[in-house]
Amino acid sequence: MRDNPLWPHLATIVKIVDETPDVKTFRVVLDDPGARENFRHRPGQVALLSVFGQGEATISISSSPTRRDYLEFSVRRVGRLTGVLHQFEEGYKIGLRGPYGNGFPLEELRGRDLLFVGGGIGLAPLRSLINYMLDRRDDFGSVEIVYGARSVADLCFKEELFTVWPKAPGVRVYTTIDRPEYGWDGHVGFVPSYLAELAPSGAGKYALICGPPIMIRLVLQELAGLGFPPERIVTTLELKMKCGIGKCGRCNIGSTMVCTEGPVFNLARLQALPPEY
């Protein structure tokens, strides 16, 4: 079954982190040493995660490929499969296939200043690239991270967000929550309006965005105003997938398959697609 792309590799959950009331990060290790060696992903790629008895779901890999000992998946509890996964404990087995998709354009990003804009669980795929970039700090320019969630409790990756990333050289982190909250002295407001306040210059910079559709739409408008050309605005799409390898017919946008040709698109490519995502 080694030449069977639908065959999942068993993996063991070695650590579970409660990120928010409905997001957990599952750190997993593939059981087979050969499969572990062969699983080499790029930031922005996805995997098909099996919860046996529930099926498979496409989940972005939230760990950086520079950290080779494990893979991490940050999963929001939204449906049947993720509901069961959230009841899993350390030591439980899941299945993994992948990595799939194109990932972020690392060659293009090398040497560039980067602006990350994330909302809610949308920080998960960006986190892979952020940590990759921190582990290869000299390869990239300045970094700004603008991230928001509904409340303090809903902010993902709090340790990195408040402790690790702000201390990294040349990295500035801007965090916001939707509504005022007792004990929060940071920014309050939605991500797009915070971005408008911060008004980062688009000169020579790449913007990498992931979040809920409404946030993405408004952020795109802001970025255009800040001078980011469509080629330097990069986002990652999330469509329902059953195979991840261009066969099940679910994630097409016109003749483009998001699983194999995406999920990362720059705005110029996105604008060339039919509006059906």
Partner: protein
């Protein structure tokens, strides 16, 4: 697909029974049987006399012998920390007799989907283990339009053995073309020896193609229809057409080139379970419904547009192959008369 015709000759109707007798007695023959007055299906056949030769085409395409309606792709036992995977059952070799040229073309249409950078093991295994005997048509059905896609109604390169009926249908016998090693093996083991044809086989086939093509009543020219994806994507035509669509999905279940699937896990009371790949339909609302509640194709208009443009444009853009073979099943079965040939004409009309 390049196929070399190794040998060719003529066999009689009696030879046909001998050709299939071996696989039939071994329980490896799948062939068209009239199971109800208007229903012909490819089913396991032990007695070659049960086979019907008097059919325009099968009600359900023979695609299901390469891509089953539901196929177990893996099993498991245990749960939590104790979980192990189990291989799916081994497959047995089959002979699939009586496949029409439109359904043979569908194999070529599906090859790049199940092949490509991630070759599908299940499809490949079934392709390897199935010997396909193609059977040319003797009469176009009322909904047939394969010739519009450049398909000959009497011959196709995808079959391992291709039989072209000669006139008159009952007495003329069949021109047989051996098109693969598997086809040669089937013929050799049956002991049937084709007789030399009086006329050059290629000439005979061309003549039969021309005679039959002239009898088709649904004449459409799909040239250029693929441009509708760019030019008419947001046209109100789709909403108008979808007004009568029931979203039943019958067109997708009967289509020889539809390949969308779902993956479903089933758990038994003892905790063991299986994962199944099942036919699915892009016309169903939940097909693209995300767990978040977002749906990129929220109404029947987007879903019907996706199906029709997949057939008429997207497949061609991706793979350079037409996505429709003109078998006419979707036209015949649609409860509200949505007719893909009419859609082709409508779209071309809207683009001029």
């Amino acid at each position: 697909m390049s196929v070399t015709t190794l040998t060719a000759g003529v066999i009689s109707r009696e030879d046909l029974v001998r050709l299939l007798a071996g696989p039939a007695s071994e329980g490896r023959l799948m062939a068209p049987v009239r199971v109800a007055p208007e229903v012909v299906l490819f089913v396991p056949v032990r007695d070659p006399d049960a086979i019907t030769l008097d059919y325009v085409n099968s009600t359900v395409p023979p695609k299901e012998y390469l891509f089953p309606r539901a196929e177990k792709i893996l099993g498991w036992r245990g749960s939590g920390p104790q979980l192990e995977l189990i291989l799916p059952p081994e497959l047995q070799p089959l002979v699939l007799f009586g496949v029409r040229p439109c359904d043979l073309r569908a194999i070529t249409v599906l090859e790049p989907v199940f092949g490509g950078a991630y070759p599908d093991l299940y499809w490949r295994r079934r392709r390897e283990l199935t010997t396909i005997v193609g059977l040319g048509c003797t009469e176009p059905g009322p909904y047939c339009f394969c010739v519009a896609w450049g398909i000959s109604p009497v011959a196709a390169p995808e079959a391992d053995l291709m039989l072209t009926p000669l006139e008159p249908p009952a007495a003329g016998g069949y021109l047989v073309a051996v098109q693969s090693a598997k086809g040669e093996e089937l013929l050799r083991r049956s002991g049937v020896g084709p007789q030399a044809a009086g006329t050059e086989p290629a000439v005979l086939r061309e003549r039969r193609t021309a005679e039959l093509t002239a009898r088709f009543r649904r004449l459409i020219d799909p040239t250029g229809v693929e441009r509708a994806a760019e030019r008419l994507f947001e046209h109100s035509y789709w909403r108008e057409l979808a007004r009568r669509c029931l979203g039943c999905g019958i067109c997708t279940f009967l289509c020889p080139t539809c390949h969308c699937f779902n993956v479903i896990d089933r758990t038994a009371p003892d905790g063991s379970g299986g994962r199944y790949r099942c036919w699915d339909s892009c016309l169903f609302e939940r097909f693209t419904l995300q767990a978040s509640g977002h749906n990129p194709r929220p109404t029947r208009a987007e879903r019907l547009r996706n199906r029709l443009l997949h057939k008429l444009s997207y497949h061609r853009t991706r793979y350079g192959l037409e996505g429709c073979t003109g078998c006419g099943r979707c036209v015949a079965a649609c409860p509200v008369n949505i007719d893909i040939a009419e859609v082709v004409a409508d779209l071309k009309g809207l683009m001029t």
